[in-house]
């Protein structure tokens, strides 16, 4: 379904991109996501899986380069357009949208520093790829360190007693990587490249890290089995193990001196992404509920004729709208400043995912028993929404990180 965009400054391009992305989400992503949701994780990543139909089609149409600037072979999209497109895609499937987002992570990371060699080796081939044969992933989360690797600026981020599980040491001209990233690496099981965030200086705790690109066909790399999970089953996730994997120094995007700053830039992007993607998921859940309530008759009248349902729908709708515009603005702001105000992106993630979950929850209540069955899409949307509260930083940890940050930064000055 189309929606009214309150932004009076939308251009014809914005509207056209929105409608093209919506159509792709509706006709390609939703049906495939539904199919994948009912498969085992092994089936999802098997050669003949519809996951590949989706990925190939998305690459063919350029949806894998949304985040990459045109100068490196990506798209000439404004940050507003990026947010609009991703919202539409997430309306079709949150999990597949994340798959597509992380696929671009190594190239996106490389575009932040734009060293010649990184461009030639990783960005250009990725942008030119039309068959999903180059897929990225984001290796940051570790079995014992999930959200706490994301707490830039917080004291625990610099605690040397918190030992990382994936470390790199310089040996001559090469970095040697050992350890593992946990089973929550999105697209970890199918990726060809990893944007790896690993520790290089244990004396600095998690802050002593580097960001580098690791081609996953290097000797010493192994992968775990795809994870079997409650929601976003269309998104494969799995461990990556590194056993003395050697990469040249030229694969490094940021060393420990710039790690925290760059991580903050990355997080300001990813958490805002989770926000506007949540707007898509939230809207999908709201629309399911609205349509059902218009048709379902109980007590002799349609559900929409009951005041409590009207109120519920209104509050659900409010959250969709607030999530969209807040996340979009936070994203646009942080994409267009040299030092992002990270706490604003954190609000987008925490508020947006909470809203999507609450809306899906309320929607199921409107559906009654039908909402619990696999007959209706809302059951999947609810499970997908539940996963977002933990995905990309649990909302609790992000609130701690955000709270800590704002105590030190509020009030920020106008740009």
């Amino acid at each position: 379904m189309n929606y009214l965009d309150l932004d009076l400054e939308l251009t014809e391009d914005d509207i056209e991109l929105k409608s093209a992305a919506h159509r792709f989400a509706k006709e390609v992503m939703r049906p495939i996501a539904k199919e994948l949701d009912e498969m085992t994780p092994e089936q999802v990543i098997a050669k003949d899986s519809p996951f590949w139909t989706f990925m190939k089609k998305a690459y063919e149409l350029g949806y894998h380069t949304i985040l990459i600037p045109e100068s490196y072979g990506g798209m000439d999209l404004t940050s507003k357009q990026q947010a609009i497109i991703y919202e539409e895609l997430a309306w079709g499937s949150f999990g597949l949208t994340v798959a597509l987002g992380v696929a671009s992570f190594p190239a996106f990371g490389a575009s932040l520093v734009a060293e010649e060699e990184l461009i030639d080796k990783f960005i250009t081939p990725y942008c030119e790829c039309k068959d999903a044969s180059i897929i990225g992933c984001w290796g940051i989360t570790e079995p014992d360190h999930g959200s706490d690797t994301l707490m830039c600026g917080h004291p625990i981020f610099r605690d040397p007693d918190i030992k990382a599980q994936c470390r790199a040491k310089l040996d001559g001209d090469e970095w040697v990587i050992s350890g593992q990233k946990s089973a929550w690496v999105s697209c970890g099981t199918v990726a060809t490249h990893c944007a790896l965030f690993c520790q290089t200086d244990p004396s600095m705790g998690h802050a002593g890290g580097m960001i580098c690109i690791v081609p996953l066909d290097l000797p010493g790399v192994t992968k775990g089995k795809p994870l079997d999970k409650l929601g976003q089953r269309d998104l494969n996730q799995g461990e990556i193990f590194f056993d003395n994997v050697r990469i040249p120094q030229s694969h490094v995007i940021a060393g420990s001196e710039a790690y925290e700053v760059l991580l903050e830039i990355v997080l300001s992007t990813t958490t805002a992404f989770m926000g506007f993607a949540s707007a898509g998921l939230a809207r999908a859940a709201f629309e399911e509920a609205l349509e059902y309530a218009k048709n379902r008759v109980q007590g002799g009248k349609r559900l929409v004729e009951y005041t409590n349902i009207q109120m519920k729908l209104f509050h659900m709708f409010s959250k969709v709208e607030l999530t969209r515009y807040y996340s979009r603005m936070a994203y646009m702001f942080n994409q267009n400043t040299s030092t992002p105000a990270e706490e604003y992106s954190l609000i987008a993630k925490v508020f947006g995912t909470n809203s999507a979950y609450e809306i899906a929850h309320d929607a199921i209540q409107i559906f009654g028993g039908n909402g619990l069955t696999k007959e209706y899409l809302i059951e999947k949307l609810y499970r997908d929404a539940r996963a977002t509260l933990i995905e990309d930083g649990s909302n609790d940890t992000l609130a701690i990180a955000g709270g800590h940050k704002l105590i030190h930064t509020y009030p920020r000055l106008d740009m």
Binding site: E16, L17, A20, E27, V28, E60, M75
Partner: protein, 248 residues
């Protein structure tokens, strides 16, 4: 090879149509629109022919300013340029065919490819009328098109089989459902489409009088289905069929 294709703006077939209370038309507020799906197939086919043989695809849309959205869609799919014939009110098929004839005369394409019908009013007349007005050969409801030097060999699905017709070019072909599966516009193509030209003209520029010859006087919703009931015996069934359903 130069191919002229059409892109009509129609109501989204996935949306529920509601007739206005006074029966003068369809409720358009809160309606969404898209390119007539049969036109989309025609555009796709034109693109494939030109990708194979080289050439130019020109998309024509007739209607209000909003109709340019659908022309743009054709350009996003890959067509080279557009023509927008601005017309305020709903035109009948005959007026559309006469406008297209004039456009064809200025553009001189080798082939005109149209959707077999628009899914809003389902008239299925424009391609046939256009071929007649141009004095060109026509092959309607194409499920396969092969272009040779000066001819188009067209397969048409008919009851019980496939009919093969061959027409001279220039000619008129209309696209059926199974001709192809249209592509989705790629993001770079959407960004490029904004730089493509859409030439504007009016029926008056073309010297076409659009006074309708066919007027829709009344639209009505189909009668609501009543619930079924179980009858006692055959006699009652026959009586109901005769008196209530009036089918025997």
């Amino acid at each position: 090879m130069k191919i002229l294709v059409t892109a009509k703006r129609v109501t989204d077939p996935d949306m529920k149509i509601k007739v206005k209370e006074d029966g003068t038309g369809v409720e358009m507020s809160s309606m969404s629109f898209k390119v007539n799906p049969f036109d989309e197939i025609a555009i796709e086919e034109a693109l494939r022919i030109c990708e194979d043989k080289g050439g130019e695809v020109v998309v024509v849309g007739i209607g209000s300013d909003k109709a340019q959205t659908e022309i743009r869609y054709g350009l996003s799919m890959g067509a080279d340029r557009g023509i927008h014939v601005s017309a305020g009110s709903e035109l009948d098929s005959d007026a559309v065919a006469r406008i297209l004839k004039k456009v064809v005369e200025t553009e001189s394409p080798d082939l005109v490819l149209l959707g077999k019908q628009a899914i809003d009013v389902d008239d299925n007349q424009v391609s046939q009328l256009l071929a007649e007005y141009l004095g060109w050969g026509q092959a309607c409801f194409a499920s396969k098109i092969e272009i040779t030097e000066n001819t188009a060999r067209v397969e048409r699905e008919v009851d019980g089989g496939i009919e093969v017709v061959e027409i001279d070019l220039p000619g008129v072909v209309s696209a059926d459902l199974r001709l192809n599966e249209p592509r989705y516009p790629a993001l770079p193509a959407i960004m490029k489409a904004k730089k493509k030209e859409i030439k504007k003209m009016t029926p008056a520029d073309l010297g076409v009088d659009t006074t309708p010859r066919v007027v829709i006087t009344q639209l009505a919703e189909p009668p609501q289905r009543k619930g079924g009931r179980i009858v006692e015996d055959v006699a009652e069934l026959i009586k109901a069929l005769k008196e209530e359903a009036k089918v025997i």
